[in-house]
């Protein structure tokens, strides 16, 4: 029998602490949509997505009402388009992005991920066509998200891809300059990318995935923050234990909703991604958790240790709560999507260097960070290379989602509203890395990749 305390705790989490399911993401394989004729390939893609995801949004809404747990987003991830489009006789992959946009519009999801290429060891011709089409694809669509994996621990870092992505990010920012470079908010450069990530903008349906699957991303920074505040002044053992237990409960909700959705739609349940995903809503902040642990401002000395403790405790609780934990599964530390991070930057406590350090102990990387519009493509590439190195050496996912906001300087703001939020433009180093990033080729895989 449930206790009154347990019942009230659950209700409080949902009603007062912003507990929600951040996303249910349907992964769809498009490998059988390949066709030499690009029109035919695109028709197959449209038909398959609209057929499989026809009831995704409605099912999500039904489950949301039935269980009383908000499901913020319903989304789709697809096979990397560079693979699907490879056999078509066309140089224009942007039309594939438009098809994805139309299909996602038809089924009512707010984002579709998979305008992607995996180039950690080198480019195919199709990979190159896709990547060079990213700026136009993101400028001319609303819902499509793009990602490029430039490095793995096993392959090393494809520096040609890193170099190219610096230019692609710049071009994307310029093509969407009238909207503060929002195209860049839909573009992620990865190292060690997971193939079952339900979170945008980096979601795609990996090549080892089944025909169709439901993956779930949970949320809950507000719940964890309140739990941490309740154990103020206790030692680290109690702090870690409290976070662990809270993460367990949050993840159980994800497991429940994921399984219910998969069962109703009639596709397999994939994974729960246990990442703590902040939103611009007051209180729903990862920075807020770190500050509740006893830091005056997120970004000050001690922040890396606090984040390491948080991330580890979340994983321990989450791993006990779900049989299938996957995706990114760590704390997200975006700037624009987290009010506490924005305040920490404004207060001068949080810098790009500290953010880079934090990515050593959490899941994603340099996320939703606006940098000056005159930042060179080479500097962006160098920042990507640094992140990729952290991921490759530490056998973990890292990523970069930077917005070189055209015409903006340090102290200006980019404003997106909604989940993407707003962010101050933060400084990058003024010294050049041009000669380094232009050397060409691939940084070899590290010695710790030789595990066989």
């Amino acid at each position: 029998m449930l206790t009154l305390h347990e019942i009230f705790e659950t209700i409080k989490m949902v009603q007062e602490e912003n507990l929600d399911i951040r996303t249910i993401t349907m992964g769809i394989s498009l490998r059988d949509c390949a066709d030499p004729d690009h029109r035919s390939a695109r028709r197959k893609i449209y038909d398959k997505i609209t057929r499989l995801a026809e009831n995704l949004v409605k099912t999500g809404e039904d489950i949301e009402r039935e269980y009383g747990i908000p499901i913020v987003n319903k989304r789709i991830s697809v096979t990397p388009i560079a693979i699907v489009a490879e056999s078509t006789r066309t140089d224009n992959y942007v039309d594939f992005a438009r098809t994805l946009d139309e299909a996602s519009d038809a089924v009512g999801v707010n984002f579709i991920g998979g305008f992607s290429a995996l180039v950690h060891k080198g480019f195919t011709i199709a990979d190159h066509k896709l990547i060079t089409g990213i700026p136009d694809a993101l400028a001319s669509t609303n819902r499509v998200c793009a990602s490029v994996n430039v490095a793995t621990t096993k392959a090393g870092i494809n520096m040609d891809a890193v170099c190219l992505m610096g230019r692609i990010i710049k071009e994307t920012a310029e093509l969407t300059a009238d909207r503060d470079g929002v195209g860049c908010a839909k573009l992620v450069v990865f190292a060690n990318v997971p193939e079952d990530n339900p979170f945008m903008a980096g979601a795609f349906h990996g090549i080892g995935e089944p025909e169709c699957v439901i993956n779930v991303g949970v949320s809950g920074p507000g719940v964890v923050k309140n739990a941490v505040e309740r154990v103020k002044g206790t030692d680290f053992g109690m702090l870690a234990e409290t976070i662990k237990k809270t993460a367990f409960k949050i993840t159980r909700m994800g497991e429940l909703i994921g399984r219910a959705t998969a069962q109703k739609i009639g596709v397999p349940f994939g994974i729960v991604d246990i990442s703590l995903a902040p939103t611009p809503v007051i209180g729903d902040s990862v920075a807020g958790i770190l500050e509740a642990m006893g830091l005056e401002r997120c970004g000050t000395h001690g922040t890396t240790a606090a984040l390491a403790l948080l991330n580890d405790a979340v994983k321990k609780g989450g791993a006990m709560a779900s049989s299938y934990v996957g995706g990114l599964s760590g704390a997200f530390i975006p700037i624009s999507e987290d009010q506490g991070m924005v305040h920490a930057v404004e207060a001068g406590a949080l810098t790009l260097d500290k953010l880079e350090a934090l990515t050593c102990v959490c899941s994603v990387g340099l996320d939703m960070i606006a940098v000056p519009g005159d930042t060179s493509p080479e500097t962006i590439s160098a920042i990507i290379a640094d992140e990729a190195a952290i991921g490759v050496i530490n056998k973990k996912t890292t990523a970069v989602r930077l917005i070189p906001a055209a015409g903006k300087k340090v102290g200006d703001y980019v404003e997106y509203g909604g989940l993407l939020g707003r962010s101050p433009v933060i400084p990058v180093k003024s010294f050049s890395a041009d000669e380094f990033v232009r050397r060409g080729g691939r940084i070899p895989a590290p010695i710790n990749s030789l595990t066989n």
Partner: protein
């Protein structure tokens, strides 16, 4: 006040029930919530 109710033999679905209880609560000057038992069970029991 907490009540555990079995609605398996009723014709009303969870969504409609929540709305009706919400309206009734507003008239009585209290907040009435209904939540699926599974949400509590899943969160607090393995």
């Amino acid at each position: 006040m907490v009540m555990v109710a079995d609605i398996s033999d009723t014709t009303i679905d969870m969504v409609a029930l929540k709305e009706k209880l919400g309206d009734k609560g507003a008239k009585l000057g209290v907040r009435i919530d209904a939540q699926h038992e599974d949400a509590f069970k899943y969160m607090h029991r393995i």
